[in-house]
């Protein structure tokens, strides 16, 4: 189980808030301003050093016991969702360019960098996180 702050949930949350705000504007209902304000706070937090690994040019899965690992999924989603832009986005794209063959195999994307393992990766009972997120990519070992 991860400890500390988590990347993927935070990126996903920011993405969903953006989608909710965009649809609110599209249909001219609801107040999108506070939704965008919360999203902006998350994006601002992720723009800091909390979950960013400057040496690898990728995000960490968490700021706790997984901080040494590389969050392949979370970093990709952060770019896709527009949660990270500019230099960091460019570095993530660059990382994928350099490590594509290591993390993409048979149409599946690994969660972590090559050779990296999480502690207690799969939790028992009702942990359907990876079922729900199959819209993004399929799972692969490690």
């Amino acid at each position: 189980m991860k400890s500390g702050h988590h990347l993927f949930d935070s990126v996903l949350h920011a993405q969903v808030l953006g989608q909710l705000a965009d649809m609110s504007a599209h249909f001219s209902c609801g107040d999108a301003a506070p939704v965008r304000a919360v999203r902006a706070r998350i994006v601002a937090a992720l723009a800091g050093p909390l979950l960013w690994n400057e040496s690898s040019g990728m995000f960490r899965p968490s700021s706790g016991n997984d901080a040494r690992l590389t969050d392949v999924w979370g970093s990709a989603l952060a770019v896709d969702a527009g949660v990270v832009t500019g230099e960091r986005a460019a570095r993530i794209v660059e990382w994928f360019g350099a490590h594509w063959a290591e993390v993409v195999q048979d149409g599946q994307v690994k969660h972590l960098g090559i050779g990296e393992r999480k502690r207690s990766f799969f939790l028992p009972l009702c942990n359907d996180y990876y079922t729900k997120t199959h819209h993004f990519t399929k799972t692969a070992p490690g």
Partner: protein, 91 residues
């Protein structure tokens, strides 16, 4: 829809569990359905509830001010599931 931010239907909340990421997926579902159908009524009638549910996860003080998810016992995915009633009662 089912309890808007809960996998279990109303009435089963005492025995079922939700994960705190549920509001995100419920929102994705509604937004995409509304976009696909261009059904403004569907979306607009759910907006307040979805927004409230997305905010409900921040009730935990463990999020602090940065609103980044954590591994607190009742917040942050993977930290543990919570009774569905936990969410329903907040709506």
């Amino acid at each position: 829809m089912m309890g808007a931010n809960c996998s279990a239907p109303h009435g089963h909340s005492g025995t079922s569990v939700c994960t705190s990421d549920e509001p995100m997926f419920q929102t994705k579902l509604v937004v995409n359905l509304a976009n696909f159908t261009q059904n403004s009524t569907l979306f607009c009638s759910e907006f307040d509830m979805l927004w409230s549910a997305l905010n409900s996860v921040y009730v935990s003080p463990d999020f602090k001010d940065d609103l980044v998810w954590t591994a607190a016992p009742t917040s942050g995915y993977g930290a543990g599931n919570v009774p569905c009633q936990h969410y329903i009662s907040k709506r």
